[in-house]
Assembly symmetry: C2
Homo-oligomer: 396 residues x 2
């Protein structure tokens, strides 16, 4: 797959290159992106183009064939999804000087990143997954990027626990029920900011796991992933993990920004979004096979994949090589990185010549298993049905 | 430190640039390396030059200021140390076709990587550390690269357990006491191969943790780190983790290559290496502070660092801000990645104006603590004395 470890980050191959030839790309690369040197947009030119599918300059997917068995997704492979163009890269010139307005506490004020770094520090491994990951598998042609499995990664974040920040400011004010965070993107002139701004609210119970993070995988958070400061909510879908966070408020009500009121709402096909519908908050149990993907030789093979419980710990993963008639429990690999992380898995199998539908099915600690079919919803969110995620393998 | 996440991998700064200006570089960059585009040798041009110190083209150190708190060292920051020039990058063109000769088993034969992948798979997090890490801190000017703390990283490997390979070949032959691995480097003509070849032996008891690994941090192993296939021996110093492994033998005796017979032997200053001296096999307990390093503001600060037990699990880390008169136990951050991994740590402190000698001291599960002073040895191996690793901090 990768011809040379030396070459892989120096000579980029775009989505129309060797990767797409493997047939593993998404179906909806409608917009031809503005490309930086090497086939990737400038702000992500440091990523590994061979492992990525560029849908648009702001929606970049990791190839299914690029997931490994080591547990942590390198930031060079991590998917990108920005609702708005990212801010100018100059915001990273003085990371420690970045300020966030903390509101809804007894002593609200602006606080600089250098001060947050002195308040406390914790590290967490967590799955980062776009709400629309798996959208391409729905039959009803939901609008939006046609992500397959690669709008997800398992990464490590370091930052200050949000609880420590609230305590340093006198504690949360009375009556507050939500954590509301606003991103630092520029809002175009002449538009009602609420129609486009990235401001999301989640229940305040998430405070016990929330970080204001300045580090991704042991490096300062890159611009593409929300640097210099990102709200990290382990167990919650990606959109809630607000990038370049410049306002962090404890609020009595959810944000009235469109992205919260009507966006990221789960509803039947054909309906419009509304605040009464479930919001894309906590993730559910999910898994997918990563190797083999299309063909393999006759004989013994290790079937590999990744599995996670979403907001709950993972209990087990099963694998079927006959389209779901029979299941065997897979082995979990490597260290347990915690309840919000994913776990690589392996099942040793013998495949005879012919075609096999290879599926995986994960179960969380509460006994929730991936469904065989996922009910469609208007925007194609949260697909975790095991049959659509299965792969057809041809054995020679 | 890093002006821009976009820029950091695109516009390289060499060791003589901004990083060296921080005063964090090693003391012995005698040879001016042949540089690829951007200040790094070609075979590691994909690494993050801002986070590295190039001692020579084959000895590249991670800056102390580049270590984060997330636990896993990205391969873009991982140190490089090659005893011989790496093989031609074309060996990566057909990774699955790479063959290793397995000997000292009942049914010895050559086996291809694609076959190893079907035999089994496991993942492990492990500290990779050069035997000479910390050499610069010895007073006796030991010859060799003057590594400070950055010839070490904590990474994740995936590969087949060596035990599974041996079992697939009928089991280890009778009387074998060592695992002996030879690297795939080209040996110059006209030289007795035993004087330069990289062939190392370790006690066969290491088999229960050894992997033949094809993946580093979720990506195929880069050439600089031993791809396509590396012997990984968690808990052992780096040199034993043979790169581009082409011969894997269970042997009755240690290798007679110079690198085993006389190299990597611990002996008093002034003595020559000999097989009777201890070999640089298992690592010992160690830690170092990573933040702050030179200056910090008056008031609260988080003192950060990394700690590991070597071949034994880590029990605790203590931090002193007064040069060792008083110690406080630090908090360990993030998930426990297993007994061979390191763990980031943090201690919340208040530092008054003036200078402070900030030290860390780790203790393993058997109660072994880092010594205050490390006894010198001829080649400057295995330095884990806490006083030399301490940092003097000026508080404004």
């Amino acid at each position: 797959m990768t011809p040379s470890g030396i070459a892989r980050r120096r000579f980029f191959v775009g989505a129309a290159g060797a990767g797409a030839a493997l047939g593993l790309g998404g179906g909806g690369a409608a917009a031809q992106p503005a490309r930086g040197a090497g086939g990737l947009p400038d702000y992500v030119a440091w990523k590994d183009a061979e492992d990525l599918i560029v849908h648009t300059p702001r929606t970049i997917e990791m190839k299914r064939s690029a997931f490994g068995s080591s547990g942590i997704t390198p930031d060079t492979d991590l998917f990108v999804r920005n609702n708005l163009p990212p801010p100018d890269a100059r915001i990273l010139e003085d990371r420690d000087g970045w300020e966030v307005s903390v509101e809804g506490v007894r002593n609200p004020r602006r606080v600089a990143l250098r001060e947050l770094k002195a308040m406390g520090v914790e590290s967490v491994a967590a799955v980062l997954q776009c709400s629309g990951n798996g959208r391409a598998f729905f039959d009803h042609k939901a609008s939006g990027t046609q992500w397959r499995v690669g709008a997800a990664g398992n990464v490590m974040w370091s930052g200050v626990p949000l609880r420590a920040v609230a305590e340093a400011m006198g504690g949360v004010a009375d009556g507050m029920r939500f954590i509301t965070a606003r991103g630092g993107e520029d809002i175009p002139q002449g538009i009602d900011p609420r129609t486009v701004m990235v401001e999301r609210s989640v229940p305040i119970a998430a405070m016990d796991r929330a970080l204001l993070a300045w580090e991704l995988n042991d490096d300062p958070v890159p611009l593409a992933h929300g640097g210099p400061l990102r709200l990290v909510l382990p167990g919650f879908f990606g959109v809630n993990n607000v990038k370049y966070v410049k306002r962090l408020a404890f609020t009595a009500e959810e944000s009235d920004a469109a992205i919260q009121r009507t966006g990221y709402r789960v509803r039947p096909v054909g309906q419009r979004g509304a605040p009464s519908q479930p919001s894309m908050w906590e993730m559910t149990v999910k898994s997918w096979v990563t190797q083999p993907l299309r063909e393999t030789a006759d004989g013994p093979v290790q079937i590999l994949g990744v599995a996670f419980g979403g907001a709950r710990p993972l209990r087990r993963v099963e694998v079927s090589t006959d389209g779901g008639s029979n299941w065997q429990e897979a082995r979990l690999l490597g260290p347990d990185l915690g309840r919000y992380a994913w776990r690589p898995f392996a099942l040793a199998a013998e495949l005879s010549p012919g075609t096999h539908l290879v599926a995986s099915r994960a179960t969380d600690e509460e006994g929730n298993s991936q469904p065989e079919k996922m009910e469609p919803n208007e925007r194609g969110y949260g697909h975790n049905g095991w049959r659509d995620h299965a792969v057809e393998i041809t054995v020679r």
